[in-house]
């Protein structure tokens, strides 16, 4: 028989019982400089790109309507103002 030919008897392979807990080994690893290299995702909401501000006083009923509409759509009130501004610009352009 050549040195290259051999077959495996699976029943002879040995396997040890192991724990799933990584608490002890993580601590040992950390002490030896084998620390976590995974990128930790930042928790919480991403910062809004809307950093501009408008200073608008409106009539109370308008304020309530804007707030309700924003809540219904699940967007910030600023989004409605942006959309209104786009419509205003389109309207001015066609005049």
């Amino acid at each position: 028989m050549s040195n290259n030919a051999f077959s495996i008897d699976l029943s002879r392979l040995k396997k040890q019982p192991k724990t799933s807990s990584t608490k002890d080994t993580d601590q040992v690893a950390e002490e030896l400089g084998f620390s976590s290299r995974e990128i930790v995702k930042k928790r919480g909401r991403k910062p809004s790109p809307r950093t501009g501000q408008v200073h608008a006083k409106v009539m109370p009923d308008t304020s309530v309507e804007i707030a309700n509409e924003a809540k219904r759509r699940g967007v910030q009130q600023g989004v409605l103002i942006e959309e209104a501004w786009q419509l205003y610009k389109q309207n001015m352009a066609t005049k």
């Binding site: 050549s2 040195n3 290259n4 030919a5 051999f6 077959s7 495996i8 008897d9 699976l10 002879r12 392979l13 040995k14 396997k15 040890q16 192991k18 724990t19 799933s20 990584t22 002890d24 080994t25 993580d26 601590q27 040992v28 690893a29 950390e30 002490e31 030896l32 400089g33 084998f34 620390s35 976590s36 290299r37 995974e38």
Partner: protein, 220 residues
């Protein structure tokens, strides 16, 4: 079925080549093999896509630190040998994979730098054995060796032997066919001829048999 972890904190030590030679050799000998690719360079995944995958082999890609223990647990009860190829850095992922190992293979080029950095893996295994209160068998395999041993190689080998470190014989020699695995995919039996194929197959087969003996306990 047992889990073999191929680990070295040193990059370029020959981890992925060792893993592929072992996996394809075991599959060729009749075993079902699951290869777990934990290396961000995705060497095993690249190899698996280059050519036709040998029969009885499967590659799981992009397994991370938080998934490694669960991934091994999910596959080590279904009659398959698991081979884990790790990243070439010191990380928690390496430590967690070692905690699930039945055998840790530490590939190492026969240079002082590789031996110095590779020794960190030995230290980690010994500390984990203590923390887990179980023995984690490990063996060192020299990779990319030349036909004529350098003085440096002989010195490093002697030093490890004196410390009682298990050295796998034969070492994996520097062979065109071994590096070509990542060019053609598949195994040594399916790839176009590269250098002395007969010698390459013999070297790989004897290496796989040496690992198999350690998995059965015959090597002790």
């Amino acid at each position: 079925m047992p889990t073999v972890v191929v680990a070295s904190p040193k990059g370029g030590a020959g981890k992925s080549t060792t893993a592929v030679l072992l996996g394809t050799g075991l599959a060729h000998a009749g075993a079902e093999v699951v290869m777990v690719d934990c290396d961000p360079n995705r060497s095993l995944t690249i190899w698996s896509k280059r050519g036709t995958m040998p029969q009885r082999m499967r590659v799981l890609s992009d397994v991370t630190e938080s998934e490694i223990v669960k991934t091994i647990k999910n596959h080590d009860n279904d009659g398959k040998i698991i081979i884990v190829d790790l990243e070439g850095i010191a990380s928690r992922l390496v430590s967690r994979a070692i905690s699930q190992a039945d055998l840790v293979l530490i590939p190492m080029r026969a240079t002082t730098l590789d031996a110095t950095i590779g020794a960190r893996a030995l230290q980690l295994i010994e500390e984990e054995e203590e923390a887990l209160d179980r023995s984690i068998p490990y063996a060192l395999v020299f990779t990319m060796t030349k036909a004529v041993k350098s003085k440096q190689h002989s010195g490093i080998e002697k030093s490890f032997r004196e410390q009682g470190v298990d050295l796998i014989e034969p070492p994996l020699m520097e062979r065109a066919a071994f590096s070509a695995l990542f060019e053609f995919g598949g195994d040594l039996y399916s790839m176009p001829e590269q250098g002395n194929m007969e010698k390459a197959i013999e070297n790989a087969s004897l290496f796989v048999q040496a690992v198999y003996q350690r998995l059965t306990g015959d090597a002790q």
